[in-house]
């Protein structure tokens, strides 16, 4: 998070790369106060007008109507809004340049011998234009991950910052991804039943691997019986001393990668949409009590909102899906998030369920709009803003450390030209860890070049 001296050189290099016309790249965390702005803290509270935000030593120091600001660089925020940087979860930022250009795309590895072992951290490219573009759109942290393709497991996602310092990783291997709905069914051989078998097998093998540093048999007991006359799961499908040495499915790398999942030390993001699939996922806690799960997608979550809330499992939900895109999304409605929040579920907006993560704030704004529609369930402004700041930060393991203006949190601060949830609002200045960020990128350079179409003296290629 806080980037010490080393990266600064890279920051300069990057500014040069962006080219003449780019802002001079800042080189160090600044101590500053933004004054007279409308401040939205990201914690669910409503925006406060005419307030100030103080950043010292790369961290949020104070927020309020009266703050001590002596000796600080003063930034006038009159007419503008100040917020924590947006947190995008889940994304593929830094893992591709052009999604349809396979050479540039590291999101999926369908021909890889590995799945759960895939690790996004070493391959995130902080110079990807998508990182630059999204930084300029006010996103300062993101969860980025490879997606399930060679197996139901997608690999280990990273939490990154979008700073221009060449050091993107906030937390490597922050979570594992697994697909258990229609996608999981397809990836596992054609049926959800196979996906569940594959999933259970994988977790058993990981447990084995954890205990024995090898995948083989271990202790066992019979399965649970619920009605008295039903057929118990064969004990060998649970945990048992049987010889498993000959039916190992996971590579050692994949098994090792799943050890922190079964231990509950690494979060498991479960991609699932249908209400009944969500229930089956919630039930996994009985079998694997230490699983620390997050639902991703959950288009039909509102149908089982109370159960999700009771399980205490957070959701990264598709924000505005309202079509029966598939048979697992028949009940999709834009009111899904509003209804889950109402039931007490912790919900972030899924940044992968939109054209680009930079649409997060527009999506959150739409949830506010729903609150005015009879029969719909929306969010207050503060709740909506939390779904793209503090809640995804908390899900990312950054509670109090990012996604809010809480004292001590990272100095990820965005100064906006207007209400950040309103269509078209954009950042004026972006700080990450208290360091002001360059906002130029390929798109802004194109914009400058084509501001006019005058080629009377030289071709456009000389206009840079």
């Amino acid at each position: 998070m806080n980037r010490p001296a080393a990266p600064r050189r890279r920051l300069f290099a990057m500014a040069c790369m962006i080219g003449a016309g780019a802002l001079a790249a800042p080189v160090a965390a600044q101590d500053f106060v933004i004054e007279n702005a409308t401040v939205a803290a990201g914690d669910g509270s409503e925006p406060v007008e005419n307030a100030s935000v103080v950043v010292r030593g790369g961290r949020i120091a104070a927020v309020g109507s009266t703050v001590a600001a002596e000796g600080l660089q003063r930034i006038d925020g009159t007419g503008m809004w100040v917020t924590p940087g947006l947190v995008a979860s889940v994304t593929s930022l830094g893992l591709y340049d052009v999604s349809a250009v396979s050479e540039s795309n590291d999101i999926r590895a369908g021909s890889s011998p590995f799945s759960a072992a895939l690790d996004a951290a070493p391959v995130v490219n902080p110079n990807s234009q998508h990182i630059l573009v999204h930084r300029a759109a006010g996103i300062t942290r993101a969860a980025t991950a490879t997606m399930p393709s060679s197996s139901i497991f997608g690999g280990q996602g990273a939490i990154i910052d979008l700073g221009a310092d060449g050091q993107p990783i906030t937390r490597a291997r922050a979570f594992q991804i697994v697909a258990l709905g229609e996608d999981g069914a397809r990836l596992s051989g054609g049926s959800r039943a196979s996906a569940h078998a594959l999933f259970r097998n994988a977790l058993r093998e990981a447990l084995d691997y954890d205990r024995n540093q090898a995948i083989s048999g271990a202790g066992m007991r019979g399965g649970d019986v619920s009605l008295g006359d039903d057929i118990a799961i064969d004990s060998r499908l649970l945990r048992g001393p049987e010889d498993r040495g000959t039916d190992v499915l996971l590579t050692r790398f994949d098994a090792a990668a799943l050890v922190p999942v079964v231990r509950g030390t690494q979060r498991l993001y479960v991609m699932v949409e249908r209400a009944s699939d969500i229930r089956s996922v919630l039930a996994l806690k009985q079998e694997f009590p230490r699983l620390d799960m997050v639902l991703v997608g959950a288009s039909e979550g509102w149908l089982v909102a109370n159960e999700i809330a009771a399980a205490g499992i957070p959701v990264i939900a598709d924000g505005l899906d309202d079509l029966p895109q598939s048979f697992e999304q028949l009940a999709a409605t834009q009111s899904n998030i509003g209804r889950m929040v109402k039931a007490g579920v912790k919900v972030a907006i899924n940044a992968s369920a939109m054209e680009n993560p930079r649409n997060l704030n527009q999506y959150a704004g739409n949830l506010v709009a729903l609150a005015r529609l009879p029969g719909a369930d929306g969010l207050t402004w503060g709740q909506a803003f939390a779904t793209i700041t503090s809640v995804p930060a908390e899900i990312s393991g950054l509670r109090g450390r990012a996604g809010s203006l809480a004292a001590g949190a990272a100095g990820d601060v965005v100064l906006w030209d207007g209400d950040p949830l309103e269509a078209g609002s954009m950042p004026v200045r972006v700080f990450i860890d208290g360091i002001e960020q360059p906002l130029d990128n390929h798109q802004s350079r194109l914009k400058e070049r084509y501001r006019d179409l005058d080629e009377s003296t030289l071709p456009k290629a000389y206009d840079w």
Binding site: Q325, L330, T333, E355, N356, N366, R372, P374, L453
Partner: protein, 456 residues
């Protein structure tokens, strides 16, 4: 999750949009174009409506005008009057629009509702006849599933009253488009916009060469794209100049284009390719109505203005394929500055629900460059400009006496993310009312399913 699915459709689907100034009420003289004696004729008739006066709202007329505290009158399916508070409302049901906004119905020039309907299962993949690089003989209307739940979302959340359904972009010539009234119907004929000209969807660039190059046949390159197109136009010209006595479905469509009755709606991302297409159009004597997905249009705003071609664009899509790499937020604003025609389109069953917001984002990008494009002009990007480019600008797209009463009452500024359609009228019939759950269409597919009739 959805973004990737959309990409598949977007890549596979080409749209042809025509930004036509010529021949807006063309009366087709052959089977090529829409006319009352054309096959598969429209059976749409307007639904009953009350004489209605919208009063007290801010009115954007769709052609660049704004009236504060305005009055809009319609009856018998037509706009009767538009003016200020002095306009008499005698004989009309008054709807109080205080604090609200009125616009013409939203029009999407580029949709695949019905030919790529939801649920998006293989059995519903009806937008690309990807078996030949030129299929001018196929008609999108023969693929449209009127029960696509997406139509109702576009109506209720997007205020969409008319839309052009295009074949996909796998082919250089993907087939005829069809323009629909966004009314629930048992048949596609019951949705067909009466008198609307057909479009021919064409596609530049990556998609055709990828699809057919991947099958080891021509075209596999951009030069191959042009060669196939040119030979096809040569053959079409020969047919058109003959007596046309032998029926040929593909050539009838192409002859309709050469006659000026069918509008070219051309999927094309890159500026240099659009310039080549404009020359191809000159070579063979046809006109491009609109370039769709024209993410690089801002590089040739002058050329597009001179040729009278509209650019149908997204606000902020970029980077999903090589030819979209140079997409910028300022595309619409720079085109407007160049005096070229801007249309905001969706190509997406979700995006069609927020064309107003997309326009607002594009407007704001211009604002940041110092270009102040008035709200009333921005509204034309998703109303009258789209209608013109589809050849229906003389009958809908703006609030003018005699035009169809396709009208949206928004519960706030339509260029704000916080606003939604409150009421939508198609030809003066109230087909959506946010305040009345029964004025919310539910497709056959959704009956008996979880969430039936939900607010969505």
């Amino acid at each position: 999750m959805r973004a990737l699915a959309r990409l598949t459709v977007g890549v596979g689907a080409l749209a042809l949009a025509a930004c036509s100034t010529a021949n807006e009420d063309a009366r087709p003289r052959s089977a090529a174009a829409a006319s009352s004696d054309a096959p598969y004729a429209s059976t749409y008739t307007r639904y009953p409506g009350r004489p209605t006066a919208l009063v007290g709202a801010t009115v954007y007329d769709g052609k660049g005008g704004r009236i504060d505290n305005g009055t809009v009158l319609f009856r018998d399916g037509e706009i009767v009057g538009i003016g200020d508070a002095a306009l008499s409302t005698d004989g009309y049901d008054r709807v109080d629009g205080t604090g609200k906004f009125v616009t013409p119905g939203v029009i999407d020039i580029h949709s695949h509702l019905g030919d790529y309907p939801t649920p998006s299962v293989d059995a519903h993949e009806d937008g690309n006849e990807a078996t030949d690089p030129t299929t001018p003989e196929v008609w999108a209307e023969h693929s449209v599933w009127p029960q696509d739940p997406g139509f109702s979302r576009a109506l209720a959340n997007g205020g969409v009253t008319a839309l052009q359904i295009l074949p996909g972009s796998a082919n250089l010539m993907g087939g005829r488009s069809v323009t629909l009234k966004n009314v629930p119907s048992r048949t596609v004929q019951g949705m067909k916009f009466p008198g609307a000209p057909y479009g021919l969807k064409m596609a530049c660039g990556e998609n055709p060469k990828r699809v057919y190059g991947g099958k080891g046949r021509m075209p596999s390159t951009r030069m191959g794209n042009f060669a196939v197109n040119r030979q096809t136009w040569l053959d079409a010209r020969k047919y058109a100049d003959g007596d046309r006595s032998e029926r040929d479905l593909g050539k009838e469509t192409l002859a309709g284009v050469l006659d000026g009755e069918i509008l070219i709606q051309n999927h094309c991302y890159r500026a240099d390719e659009m310039a080549l297409v404009l020359d191809m159009a000159k070579e063979f004597g046809y006109k491009v109505a609109a370039f769709h997905h024209a993410v690089e249009a801002y590089k040739i705003g002058d050329l597009l203005r001179e040729n009278g071609v509209c650019s149908a664009i997204w606000a902020d899509w970029y980077g999903f394929k090589m030819e979209s790499y140079d997409g910028i937020l300022e595309n619409a604003a720079l085109l407007q500055k160049a005096g070229a025609c801007v249309v905001i389109h969706s190509d997406d069953a979700n995006g069609i629900q927020r064309l107003n917001q997309e326009a607002a984002k594009a407007q704001a990008a211009g604002q940041r460059m110092g270009m102040n494009i008035p709200d009333a002009e921005v509204v034309s990007w998703f109303t009258l400009n789209a209608a013109k480019a589809m050849g229906i600008g003389d009958v809908t797209g703006s609030l003018e006496p005699g035009k169809m009463a396709d009208v949206v009452l928004w519960n706030g500024d339509p260029l704000s993310v916080y606003s939604r359609p409150e009421k939508v009228w198609v030809d003066g019939a109230l087909l959506f009312d946010a305040l009345d759950p029964k004025r919310r269409p539910v497709s056959d597919f959704e009956l008996g399913q979880p969430g039936e009739g939900d607010v969505k």
